[in-house]
């Protein structure tokens, strides 16, 4: 059994003039110790997906259907009280902005001890020892000193390290990291990612990494999901997708990277931009920007087809697989 299994998750936002569908039919699994990347551009719904796992989507958003099974129990159907026992304890979250987690008027130590005592019945002294241990794990220079410092006394990179230390406090099963390094410089980003990767491997923690950076995804994760307009359009082993993407959107996303182009030449570009939730096209949401789109794509959302180890939702890919099959049959 997978550690986390999301089945057909639908998330909607109740706004004036009716509901907007933010996530439609999201299904994926996360095994123990596995590192999964959630890739997409802004508005694709990747943060909504992360937040909905812990039922943290703010009003007017709500889970309209589907299941989120964590060790077999459905988080979507759980009471707020039960959920609080899981949040921060079994499943920890890391946000893009460290100040979303850190309280500016409390010292790092106070906040870490508080987080431990909320879930464990131990003495303050023991809690402080755990906090110190975690700060050492994230390789913060002079960790004892940090316990008595306030968040504003630390640099951005150090704050993100503290956040990771807080996430690790209660030995969680899963860490959900939402764009943890987007606000940081490249050299700091590399260090934080390296740290996160090593910690997950050492502690056998599963990581769900939400990012728009395909380079980071390929460095850190084993499997990845590509999201577009609230749907997963491609998922499978990271290496396979990066090296040989199937969905035209994923291909476009990879080919649009400057590192893929010939220096000085025009970059590959996907025309248009992601539709807003208010006017998602019918059928495959990518069809207005897709060069392979047919009338079929405009009518109905494609089902997933399997190509190698990758699941893709695209009629064009399905056709190609079909053709290949027929050719093989004809040969034999």
């Amino acid at each position: 059994m997978a550690l986390l299994e999301v089945k057909n998750l639908d998330v909607r936002f109740a706004v004036r003039g009716g509901d907007l569908t933010a996530l439609r039919g999201i299904s994926f699994t996360l095994d123990k110790g596995e590192r999964l990347g959630l890739v997409g551009e802004s508005g694709a719904g990747k943060s909504v997906a992360a937040f909905s796992i812990l039922n943290l989507i703010a009003k007017p958003g709500y889970i309209a259907g589907g299941q989120i099974l964590f060790e077999g129990r459905d988080l979507a159907a759980m009471s707020e009280r039960e959920l609080r026992k899981i949040r921060g304890n079994r499943i920890a979250m890391i946000f893009q902005d460290p100040m979303m987690t850190l309280n500016p008027v409390l010292t790092i130590g106070t906040q870490m001890v508080e987080a431990i005592l909320a879930h464990r019945k131990i003495s303050k002294k023991e809690a402080r020892a755990i906090a110190l241990d975690r700060l050492q794990k994230v390789q913060i220079p002079s960790p004892e000193k940090r316990l008595d410092q306030y968040p504003h006394e630390l640099s951005g990179g150090m704050r993100q390290r503290v956040i990771i230390a807080i996430a690790l406090l209660l030995d969680p099963e899963i860490i959900i990291a939402d764009e943890p390094t987007t606000a940081l410089d490249v050299t700091i980003q590399a260090e934080i990612m390296d740290l996160l990767l090593n910690l997950c491997e050492q502690e056998n923690v599963a990581l769900m990494l939400i990012t728009h950076d395909l380079g980071v995804v390929s460095q850190v994760t084993q499997r990845m999901l590509v999201m577009y307009s609230g749907r997963i359009i491609e998922q499978g082993p990271t290496r396979e997708i990066i090296n040989d993407a199937q969905h035209p959107y994923t291909q476009g996303l990879i080919n649009a990277l400057p590192q893929m182009g010939e220096p000085g030449a025009r970059l590959f570009q996907i025309p248009g931009s992601m539709p807003s939730l208010k006017n998602v096209p019918t059928g495959c949401p990518f069809h207005p920007r897709c060069s392979f789109a047919t009338d079929h794509c405009k009518r109905a959302m494609p089902e997933y087809v399997r190509s190698g180890n990758v699941d893709v939702a695209c009629y064009e890919v399905a056709n190609l697989i079909e053709q290949e099959k027929r050719m093989q049959e004809a040969e034999s």
Binding site: S155, M193, D194, L214, Q219, I254, P258, Q259, I270
Partner: protein, 336 residues
């Protein structure tokens, strides 16, 4: 070699932190003292931008790259040093004398959500600069110009009556580019023009900038933190660290053989698609604050090759065999 279009000479910029006289007085060690603090954003930068090229300035936050851009555009006045455009000193021009350069030099900003006036329609946003710089133009001429620039950035001229907030981030950045192009500039400073945009939109805007460069013969000063973009877009690259240029070279040379230890670390930190894990050069410590600059080479505290000379003497840019310039004692002495 022809004379440069823009040259930045010994530029320095400090931002005063200490406020007025009353706020400067502190009580220390039993007596009152006047204490002055300043952020040293740029500390002696020399750069030349040649006609038709795209000079990229890269570096991490706080390295002074945006300050260079804003000083060149006259949004900030230099604390020391000079800015020359086409042989004419421009940093001390005021009022009417500065106007021709306002037309020739334009700027594209980072945040497309803040760079368009929310109370103005697209039409008004584009019309105002044209009328301002060409007071004699007839209404039809102005209209034709607006249509021309909107076409060239791929925005439908019929959308002129809409407001900025009705467009997506990528479209807004196109409109901001159209505004800059509307006055037919020769030189454009682009301050992180794509970092607020999504990947697929970044490619569109970069292509647009390259097309404009080709069709209008533009010269760019391109400020970015994204080295992958630099490799694609730049003719030459200047790497900045703590307000100094530490390496300057042709893009190809810089990416093939980075000489400065900082450039090497920076290049190794770009996440690449072929990587299976981060494999960057680890630097010790963190970037020092620009309030108290380290003595000697600003990078010495984090540099694995630093020695006593690095801690005392400020390295100057010297020519390398690859045709670039690097400010590093270790390279000069052949230790690296």
């Amino acid at each position: 070699m022809t004379s440069p279009l823009v040259s930045i000479r010994d530029l320095e910029k400090r931002f005063d932190l200490s406020g007025n006289l009353l706020e400067q007085i502190t009580f220390e060690g039993g007596r009152f003292r006047r204490k002055q603090e300043a952020v040293h954003a740029i500390n002696g930068v020399n750069l030349e931008v040649h006609k038709g090229e795209a000079l990229c300035v890269v570096g991490e936050s706080g390295c002074g790259k945006s300050t260079v851009a804003r000083t060149v555009m006259g949004l900030l006045s230099p604390s020391a040093g000079e800015i020359h455009y086409d042989g004419q000193r421009i940093d001390n021009l005021e009022g009417k004398a500065a106007l021709p350069y306002r037309r020739k030099m334009q700027m594209i900003f980072q945040n497309p959500y803040a760079s368009l006036n929310p109370r103005m329609t697209i039409q008004q946003t584009l019309e105002e600069p044209i009328r301002f710089h060409h007071p004699g133009w007839a209404a039809t001429e102005v209209r034709d110009k607006i249509h021309e620039v909107m076409h060239s950035v791929g925005i439908d001229p019929d959308w002129g009556s809409r407001f900025g907030h009705e467009f997506s981030g990528g479209q807004r950045q196109r409109i901001a580019i159209a505004r800059a192009l509307a006055v037919d500039p020769e030189f454009i400073v682009a301050d992180e023009p794509i970092s607020a945009l999504d990947v697929s939109i970044q490619a569109q805007v970069l292509n647009l900038l390259m097309d404009a460069q080709e069709s209008r013969g533009l010269t760019y000063l391109f400020i970015t933190h994204d080295l992958a973009v630099v490799e694609h877009f730049g003719t030459r690259v200047a790497v900045m660290y703590l307000g100094r240029v530490c390496e300057l070279a042709d893009t190809k040379t810089l990416f093939a053989t980075p000489r400065h230890p900082y450039t090497q670390a920076l290049l190794s930190a770009i996440p690449k698609l072929e990587d299976d894990r981060p494999n960057h050069i680890r630097l010790q410590g963190e970037v020092p604050t620009p309030v108290n600059l380290p003595s000697g080479c600003v990078f010495h505290g984090r540099c694995p090759y630093a020695n006593d000379r690095c801690r005392q003497e400020i390295p100057q840019l010297i020519a390398t065999d690859g045709g670039g310039q690097v400010a590093c004692h270790a390279v000069e002495e052949g230790r690296l």
